[in-house]
């Protein structure tokens, strides 16, 4: 749980004034729910509740939906930390029989969705409580929740929105670091999709339900879901988790820059920034898309389709000419690298040690990556500079590859000579054997 929360919290921008206003409203809601008796549950247990815990003992034998919460309750992170059912549901787990569920003993029963944020917040919003269990865990989740679209709609009385258990599950609630948890990074997309891929559920909000399919097809989805890279972003890494909102038009680059720092810096100083701002275009997503972000390719650059530049810049325009020149610089570098790699591979296949040639080739690859990144600056001069350096390194690799091939040719000439000498000697020896007495 710790790792994931730390990771996601680091990527969530601090709440602004509007957020604090919403948090104040949340506090009001909290007050209201306390008045309704939610917070009148049992005091926080200082340590584990000593067995027997009659809630589990009785419910386990009741069968049906009443027994269901007990099935995996031992896995629950709160139970593991010593909390009983009564920590959320109230009542007295030491009392035998139905008196354990006496409202006079604080029993509140099944909680309504609107009650959950304040219930969870009784511990999770209090640093002095959380530090007893996990000092690294943030305690502003509830405040952030009320800044989210989910939280704001909940306050407006929309009970269909996600609350704490919608994402974290219930009976058991697992640590986010547990791979079975619905908020484990690889599970987040399907967790969000439980609602967001449901076209009927999304229809009232005017939100498309294609995000999961788009994400699964994206380079991020491939990395997280197919290759299991925990560094790859899930939904919450761009939208925030507890404070989930769509990134604003002017904040997209900052969201992407959580990982892609350099492209953001280059974009910020590029001519695109001002133009996009003026046109209300959402920065990085204009070229890369949002949920279906595909692996970028050099084909994205240029003055004609499928290049994304061509969507705005006509072929003969100033922008179109620059885009074409940038693409040419990239293509030229790739061509020189491919030629060098082919020569080096030929020499290597012939048995030459080409480690010395592979080094500049690898450096040329670095220059290609650099040049591709510099495309975000839209500076032809900078792209060409990196490409020219890469081409120089390719030439060096080519020269070493040619030297290797020349050495191979030298060796083979030497072999032919040596075999000729051996053949002559053999012939001489054969003639000598013929001339000497046999058996």
């Amino acid at each position: 749980m710790d790792t994931s929360l730390r990771r996601t919290s680091r990527r969530t921008s601090p709440p602004g004034p509007a957020a604090w206003a919403l948090a104040a409203a949340a506090a009001g809601l909290l007050w209201l729910s306390q008045a309704a008796g939610v917070a009148a549950g049992p005091a926080l247990p200082p340590q584990a509740v000593a067995p027997p815990d009659t809630c589990v003992e009785c419910h386990r034998v009741l069968g049906g939906r009443l027994a269901e919460p007990t099935f995996k309750i031992a896995d629950d992170i709160h139970v593991k930390r010593g909390f009983s059912c009564s920590a959320c549901h109230g009542g007295d787990p030491r009392a035998p029989g139905l008196e354990a569920m006496d409202p006079k003993r604080g029993f509140v029963g099944k909680l309504k969705p609107a009650q959950l944020p304040s219930l969870c917040g009784r511990c999770h919003s209090r640093p002095e409580v959380m530090r007893r269990f996990n000092p690294a865990i943030p305690t502003d989740e509830v405040a952030r929740f009320f800044t989210s679209v989910h939280g704001r709609r909940l306050m407006q009385g929309d009970l269909r929105v996600a609350t704490c258990t919608s994402c974290h599950g219930v009976h058991p609630i697992l640590a986010a670091s547990d791979s079975r948890s619905p908020v484990f990074p690889a599970n987040v997309p399907t967790t969000c999709a439980r609602c967001h891929a449901d076209a009927t559920a999304m229809k009232p909000y005017g939100i498309p339900a294609t995000q999961l399919a788009d994400y699964q097809a994206s380079v991020h989805g491939e990395a997280l879901l197919k290759r299991g890279s925990k560094q790859a972003p899930a939904c919450n890494d761009c939208h925030g988790n507890h404070g989930a909102v769509p990134p604003g038009v002017d904040s997209v680059a900052n969201v992407c820059a959580q990982c892609h720092t350099s492209p953001r810096d280059l974009f910020v100083r590029s001519p695109h920034r001002a133009v996009f701002e003026a046109a209300g275009l959402p920065q990085c997503t204009v070229c890369h898309g949002n949920h279906r972000i595909l692996r970028p390719s050099d084909e994205m650059v240029g003055a004609s389709a499928p290049a994304v530049c061509a969507r705005c810049h006509a072929e003969g325009s100033k922008g179109g000419i620059a885009a074409k020149a940038i693409r040419t610089a990239l293509d030229d570098l790739k061509a020189s690298m491919a030629a060098a790699a082919e020569i080096v591979a030929r020499a290597e296949d012939a048995g030459m040690d080409m480690a010395d040639a592979k080094l500049p080739l690898s450096d040329a690859q670095t220059q290609l990556i650099l040049a591709r990144n510099l495309v975000h600056s839209l500076s032809l001069r900078e792209v060409r500079s990196a490409a020219t350096e890469g081409a120089g390194l390719s030439r060096k690799a080519t020269d070493l590859g040619r030297a290797g091939l020349a050495e191979i040719a030298f060796r083979r000439r030497g072999l032919v000579l040596a075999l000729a000498v051996i053949a002559v000697l053999l012939a001489g020896l054969y003639l000598k054997t013929r001339a000497t007495p046999g058996p």
């Binding site: 040690d353 030497g414 053999l426 020896l429």
Partner: protein, 350 residues
């Protein structure tokens, strides 16, 4: 006093000259097997010369071994040739040692009084395999590292002495730099010293008893050792030299990736080809045989086979071809087929 008599007075070389002039080699069907030993000797001499040259640059430490071999291959003038010839000649030598042994076996050259010639030859076979096993690790590449790990593990399964033998070979519990320096010492000092003695004895015994004459082939024709046999043997050596040159130039022996002690073992690790028949046999043996650990049973079986090989002249002693000789011949054919067959199966197996 001219030089000839001066040397004669001190070295008595004319006796050797006279000996060689009177020495003959039988001319028989399949007589080409008489050249196999000489070819093996030639390859051994190449190993000595190229090995000494490699010693000038090779550095036996985990850090430097791989780089030094790469340096030899890429930077040292004709280093690639020396190292490739060393590696190829090593493999050819193992092949010819086997060929020489089977040739001698089927000609029944081990008969009285040549028992010790056979025993010394069998010891040379074991020494050659030890040369191969220790030399394979020296470039300190991934394949060699893991093959050595597996190979020494097999040694560790030898009953009773396996565990101490494994520690002795590895210089510790694991294959480390200590193993490398140990294998280096064994490869360039201990084995050459022992081999020189055993080879000396082997060659001396061959001169002492002369070439074995196969039985029952009628009156023997004989080829004078000098110049007839020497000329033909020289032709064989030249052919081998040409083949070696072609192999070294057209297929330079690869250096491989530097061994990473922390990396997982790559898939399909196999020992050098001449150990594959043993390796694959051990793989095929079930985990338990008659209540005993399968691998140990296999190892004991191979150790017994080695003892039987050494003891061939004492197990089959008939002066004339007898039933025992026919059984020995059949067993020899089976052994040869088994070695070839299991090597092929071992390479085809995943």
């Amino acid at each position: 006093m001219s030089l000839g008599p001066w040397l004669e007075e001190r070295l008595r070389w004319r006796a050797a000259d006279q000996f060689l002039r009177h020495k003959t080699v039988p001319v028989v069907r399949h007589g080409y097997v008489y050249y196999f030993g000489g070819v093996t000797l030639f390859l051994f001499l190449i190993q000595v010369v190229t090995g000494l040259l490699l010693l000038m640059y090779y550095r036996p430490t985990a850090d430097a071994a791989h780089d030094s071999v790469r340096f030899i291959m890429a930077r040292v003038q004709f280093g690639w040739l020396v190292r490739s010839v060393h590696s190829w000649a090593a493999n050819l030598m193992v092949f010819w040692v086997f060929a020489h042994m089977f040739g001698a076996f089927f000609l029944r050259a081990y008969r009285r009084p040549r028992e010790l010639t056979w025993v010394s030859g069998a010891l040379l076979l074991f020494l050659t395999l030890a040369f191969g096993f220790t030399g394979y690790l020296l470039p300190w590449n991934t394949l060699a590292f893991f093959a050595t790990k597996v190979g020494t593990e097999i040694v560790g399964s030898v009953p009773l002495v396996g565990e101490p033998l494994l520690v002795l070979l590895r210089g510790g519990e694991d294959v480390t730099e200590a193993t490398l320096s140990r294998f280096f010492g064994i490869h360039v000092a201990i084995l050459p010293a022992i081999t020189t003695l055993v080879l000396g004895l082997h060659l001396f015994l061959i001169q002492l008893h002369g070439m074995s004459q196969p039985q029952g082939r009628g009156p023997a024709r004989a080829l004078p050792f000098v110049p007839g046999f020497v000329l033909r043997e020289s032709m064989a050596w030249l052919l081998v030299l040409g083949a070696l040159a072609a192999l070294a130039v057209l297929f330079p022996w690869p250096v491989g990736e530097k061994a990473d002690l922390l990396a997982p073992a790559p898939a399909g690790i196999k020992p050098e080809w001449y150990f594959v028949f043993m390796f694959h046999t051990l793989k095929l043996i079930p985990a338990h045989v008659l209540g005993l650990e399968g691998e140990r049973v296999g190892i004991v079986a191979f150790m017994l086979a080695a003892v039987v090989l050494l003891a061939v002249p004492f197990l089959e002693r008939g002066e004339q071809p007898t039933r025992a000789a026919r059984i020995a011949r059949a067993l020899g054919v089976l052994a040869a087929l088994y070695i070839v067959g299991m090597t092929i199966v071992g390479y085809l197996a995943p």
